[in-house]
Assembly symmetry: C2
Homo-oligomer: 321 residues x 2
């Protein structure tokens, strides 16, 4: 019997029914686990593992032929030591998170532009008092670094709301969504930053993105600019960002990703002004649409796997995403 181990902390009973029907039809038996570690005692039985936070599985399961990651970020699985079976197929779920992460970006950007945290603090103290000034997404010069699924969804909504959207990617000649008013290569970032009102970082953690938003680049941004990071915390020089926010060198920032995570209780980011912190939840599997997409992508690949066809959504291990 060919067996699949699946983590069920992001699945509804409807999802399990859906998976069960397809798996049975294709000749697979499914076991569910709450955590990856729970599958370890019997991991050699499984041909396929579908879940997350599964380095303990991939690094020990010699019989594993396909690991389907339900997340998009793959940096934990790039080294050879991550794989007990070097020929194991690896797929991720990039493409399932654009909707939820773009909704997070629009939410926190509007909260920053409209000074919502200040209004919330006043209202919490029952002080009925309007902020003096707000800004709008309409006419905002938005720069999006990373033009994949996430950056493209952010661009579409921002463009529809009237922003002027510049996108940056490694290969600007690649086809891009018409929501981007302008497309630049990554090496033009320094020229774009001085004309940026809101900088949105949607890049994976790779050697090239570590420290991307350096102290020097923060200084290239206008003083009334905003920074939103929903990619990986390693892209931002956090000390420089905190200095800029404390010194009024930036108008505000929203970090959903940071270093380290979870943030320790004594970390200075907690005390930084004009900063909206969220617990890496922008792309979490808490959104129904995201979970539906993850399951659909897995089942489409399961059909291909059973038919001996190449799988979709295979990250490039060398490139890192």
């Amino acid at each position: 019997m060919r067996k699949i181990a699946i983590m069920d902390d992001f699945l509804s009973s409807e999802h399990k029914d859906q998976i069960g029907r397809t798996a049975a039809r294709l000749g697979f038996f499914v076991d569910y686990f709450a955590r990856a570690e729970d599958a370890l005692p019997q991991i050699d039985q499984y041909e396929i593992f579908f879940g997350h936070d599964a380095l303990a599985v991939t690094s020990t399961a010699k019989n594993l032929r396909w690991f389907a990651l339900c997340y998009a970020g793959v940096e934990a699985y790039l080294s050879d030591s991550a794989w007990a079976n070097p020929d194991c197929i690896f797929t991720n779920s990039a493409g399932a998170y654009g909707v939820t992460i773009s909704e997070h970006v629009i939410m926190v950007l509007l909260m920053l532009l409209r000074q919502m945290p200040r209004t919330q603090r006043r209202m919490a103290n029952r002080q009925w008092h309007r902020v003096e000034s707000m800004r709008s997404i309409r006419g905002l010069r938005m720069t999006i670094v990373g033009m994949g699924d996430i950056g493209t969804h952010v661009a579409r909504t921002a463009h529809a709301m009237g922003a002027h959207v510049t996108g940056l990617r490694r290969n600007p000649a690649k086809a891009s969504d018409p929501a981007f008013d302008q497309v630049c290569s990554m090496d033009q970032l320094n020229r774009v930053l001085p004309r940026t009102d809101a900088l949105v970082l949607c890049v994976p953690a790779t050697a090239e993105t570590v420290g991307l938003l350096s102290r020097a680049r923060i200084e290239l941004l206008p003083e009334d600019a905003y920074v939103v990071n929903v990619g990986r915390g390693s892209a931002v020089d956090q000390d420089a960002l905190m200095d800029a926010l404390r010194g009024g060198r930036l108008a505000g920032a929203a970090l959903d990703v940071m270093t380290p995570e979870p943030l320790p209780p004594d970390h200075p980011l907690w005390r930084t002004p004009n900063l909206i912190l969220t617990p890496h939840c922008s792309g979490n599997t808490s959104l129904g649409y995201t979970r539906d997409r993850i399951v659909d992508m897995f089942l489409e690949n399961l059909e291909r796997y059973a038919a001996g066809e190449p799988l979709l959504h295979c990250p490039n291990r060398r490139r890192g995403y």
Copy 2:
């Protein structure tokens, strides 16, 4: 010398320059005041008044020939006693607030759908903990009551983000924006409410809208529905809304308008769960784009006024908007 009195609490120096140039060319002299009351001692000198909260002006200025309201809501100026000169022309600034109010609606709706207030409370206590579930604007069944400038801008953004948008207006045969997937007449509201995930109220205060969202209608909404009110507080039965939120009969609400305003410190709305309160700031003149539009609309009308042409943006006093 023909004279104009203008309140300047919503004007930049650029706006004043812009107004000054046009007024001078058309043969008008402009005086600025911080509050409407400040103009009262010399109000008989002025042919035109441009500002807000100006009932003291309109009800005493016998020589006033045109009152240009920089706000959209006109309910304070509908009675005969509001006008010392019954022939005074009355214009408002409906059309300047759609962008800012729709951005507020999208912001608070995303905050409700993504349980952002709960995340903010946890993060304020340095608790790194994700909420269990979020919902998306994508696929959301949004019902917008009132299809004017504000409702239309909300519909455009929500539609672009993937919502299914139903609009309700008095005359559904009137031309409407293609962002509305469906248009119904007001008397179909009771049939639409059970199929509504998010109800957005953008109606002016008129005899027909007082108590529009009654206790009986709140009970027609699904238990996981959300209510957003950016029109006038009088449209909502607040006691019924508070009961529904306390009893889990609704998932959440966001009120930017309420009764009374400002909300007294001992009012039970302050203590109502799953409720985002803001101090009637969604359409405030704090947004640069709004102020620009208000000034542009006033100057366009000033040209018409000087030429003896009919003015634009004249509310229908009988209809109430």
